[in-house]
């Protein structure tokens, strides 16, 4: 009887362990994941937050001012980087080729250029008035820019 009881206890432990593993695998990553993309802006910029739609409008230059007269300057990460790819997929929701087509067409229509691409997006956002850019959480320095939006990684 004792043996039977021990066997049952062992089985129960195994089952509990499996159940716990299955449950834990479903729990989403923490909100502070280092792969989160933080949308950052120069600290002089007035809005303290923006929505995903507004962010897309900024980076497609459909929205060009912050409400006053200060021009918004969207700054992209370098083409081909993981940061740029993730941002484009999450915010613009178009392919790299389609994005380039948008800017080829815009330059013929109205002489509008694509946002500049810089290696250090955080430093650029800090240096440029009205600058808005993005960076991985793991690279973020809270002393130089402020966060307008968090895009989960």
């Amino acid at each position: 009887m004792m043996m039977h009881y021990m066997k049952k206890k062992k089985t129960a432990s195994i089952v509990l362990l499996l159940l716990a593993s299955w449950m834990l695998s479903g729990i989403p990553a923490s909100a502070d994941s280092p792969d989160d993309i933080l949308v950052i802006a120069n600290k002089q910029v007035k809005p303290s937050s923006i929505s995903m739609d507004e962010l897309r409008e900024l980076f497609l230059k459909q929205r060009t001012k912050w409400g006053g007269s200060r021009r918004i300057t969207p700054i992209n990460a370098k083409k081909g980087t993981a940061l740029r790819k993730k941002f484009r997929k999450a915010v613009l929701q178009i392919s790299a080729g389609a994005e380039q087509t948008v800017w080829e067409d815009q330059k013929i229509r109205k002489g509008i250029a694509a946002p500049p691409e810089l290696k250090s997006t955080q430093k650029a956002a800090f240096r440029v008035w009205g600058g808005v850019s993005y960076v991985f959480r793991r690279d973020y320095d809270k002393n130089v820019t402020k966060i307008l939006l968090v895009i989960p990684g």
């Binding site: 021009r71 389609a98 067409d105 013929i108 229509r109 810089l118 650029a124 008035w129």
Partner: protein, 515 residues
């Protein structure tokens, strides 16, 4: 015996000196070694703890090594940061700085030069000797409309200048006069611009340049911007799209080719965008210009200025985009000639200075023009449905003399002046296109089949100038800078008169490149 003692004594003396020297050397070496040990101790023990002759413990040595490694790492990180800063400076140096030491940088390029061109190939099929030959040949041909070059300058944060020049092979081959058999005496003449270089004796053609647009743009606010100069009329979809790499079909709609609305105007435009909530855009534009005229790009020949108003409402999301717009225009077109009246002509046909010279402007044609246009565009998961409509009413105040080809189309004699009556015109097109969802297989290569139907009657009093055109084609975009189009078109005239009853078939292809 004495000699032996002397030798022994000298030898002993020499040996003692040698021993003494050796002892000195040994002593010196020992002192040096001791000093070296002391130095080593001092170097390895900067705190100066005296440990006597004992070596520092291994833990302390390890700690010291860790300290060196940490300092080394910090130096490397500092060097890395300096490198990044230099790279950053190099990247930002391409942009204009607002001032010395300022952090306000303008990231728009100072001067930007770019453009586009296209090469087309067309073969038109129509009944031999049909009147269509007035406008197009039926031989297969490569054609180039020219090269459009843009020059854009960002002057300040809110001030920019844009110019678009069209370099064209025209007026080479321009038909200046038609030879009309059976009606008077005329000769077919075509422009030939060939000239000889006086040095190389090389013969070459002179070509033309036209200014598509050139204007200054002031953009202080999202909702208030001003353009001054020659600008594209802000109506519809394709007049704004403007270039062959952007426009979907090979050929422009006939109502736009006939300019039922002016393609461009010289004057001022105030425009802006309101964004009441994300994804919703309300655009407006108010135009004030010379309107139309024989030289309106240069000067206006009447006091009247043309006015226009555009309103557009758009909803834009990544997979869905809808826009409706309208543009209303009123202008007066005046043609006039300058007549110099002189008085006081002497019997010898000389002028006297006592009598004044008078300048009289004589109007030769005046029309009031009222135009309304609208456009609709829907983009939905790759499907594109687009339509534009233009309606106009031309009121003849002083009727305009009709052009020779219009006279002929109207069944008249070009040697006998005919004058256009007041009339309306209507034109519209509908385009349906679909971007095939082949991204996974073809990457950024875009394939877009399309169908287009248009019906245009620009001048109701000349039905022969109207047409119905059906087009079917393929728009391929292998790279963002290149477009290849292939199209079949069937044109039917709105009238059977003067041999226009048979339809025209056109097969054409185009390569459009932006750079």
């Amino acid at each position: 015996m004495f000699r032996l003692e002397l030798v022994l004594g000298v030898g002993f003396f020499v040996m003692s000196q040698v021993a003494f020297s050796q002892e000195s050397i040994d002593q010196g070496a020992a002192e040096d070694a001791e000093a070296e040990v002391k130095n080593d101790k001092a170097a390895s023990n900067p705190a100066g703890t005296e440990s006597g002759t004992e070596a520092p413990p291994i833990d302390e040595l390890l700690k010291r090594m860790e300290g060196y490694e940490a300092r080394e790492k910090a130096r490397e990180e500092e060097i890395e940061e300096l490198k990044e800063e230099l790279e950053m400076q190099a990247e930002l140096s391409q942009f204009e700085g607002a001032g010395e030491g300022s952090e306000e940088l303008d990231t728009e390029q100072r001067i930007w030069i770019y453009g586009f061109f296209d090469l087309s190939f067309a073969k038109t099929f129509y009944k031999e000797d049909a009147a269509y030959g007035m406008y197009t040949i039926n031989d297969s041909s490569f054609m180039m409309t020219g090269l459009n070059v843009y020059i854009r300058g960002q002057l300040t944060q809110s001030l920019s200048a844009l110019s678009e020049l069209r370099f064209s092979f025209r007026p080479v081959g321009n038909e200046e006069e038609l030879q009309i058999e059976g009606l008077g005496d005329s000769e077919y003449t075509v422009t030939d611009t060939g000239v000889w270089d006086p040095f190389t004796i090389e013969n070459y053609e002179q070509h033309g340049v036209s200014i598509e647009r050139v204007h200054l743009t002031y953009e202080p606010l999202q909702w208030l911007n001003i353009i001054a100069g020659r600008y594209l009329t802000p109506y519809g979809v394709w007049n704004i799209d403007h270039g062959s790499p952007v426009v979907i079909p090979v050929r422009w709609p006939w109502m736009q080719v006939r300019e039922m609305l002016p393609k461009a105007q010289t004057g001022l435009q105030v425009y802006g965008t309101f964004i009441p909530k994300p994804c919703w855009f309300i655009n407006y534009a108010i135009t004030l210009s010379n309107g139309r005229g024989p030289m309106e790009s240069v000067m206006d020949l009447d006091e009247n200025k043309a006015v226009g108003l555009r309103l557009a409402l758009a909803y834009r999301k990544p997979k869905v985009e809808v826009e409706i717009s309208g543009y209303g225009y009123y202008g007066k077109r005046t043609d006039e000639k300058k007549v110099l009246q002189v008085f006081g002509v002497t019997p010898n046909d000389e002028l006297t200075l006592e009598e004044p010279v008078r300048v009289k402007m004589v109007e030769t044609a005046v029309q009031d023009e009222y135009v309304v246009s609208s456009s609709f565009m829907l983009k939905l998961f790759g499907v594109r449905l687009q339509s534009e409509l233009i309606w106009n009413y031309i009121e003849q105040i002083i009727p305009r003399r009709m052009a020779d080809d219009d006279v002929i189309l109207n069944g008249g004699n070009p040697l006998i002046p005919m004058f256009a009556p007041s009339h309306t015109g209507l034109g519209y097109y509908v385009l349906l296109a679909y971007q095939l969802p082949l991204d996974k297989y073809l990457g950024s290569f875009r394939i877009m089949p399309y169908l287009m139907w248009e019906d245009s009657d620009p001048a109701e009093y000349i039905p022969q100038s109207g047409s119905r055109i059906f087009s079917a084609g393929l728009n391929l975009k292998p790279t963002p800078n290149t477009v290849i189009k292939a199209e079949y078109g069937r044109l039917s005239s709105l009238s059977d008169a003067i041999g226009l009853g048979e339809p025209v078939h056109v097969v054409q292809a185009q390569l459009a490149v932006s750079f």
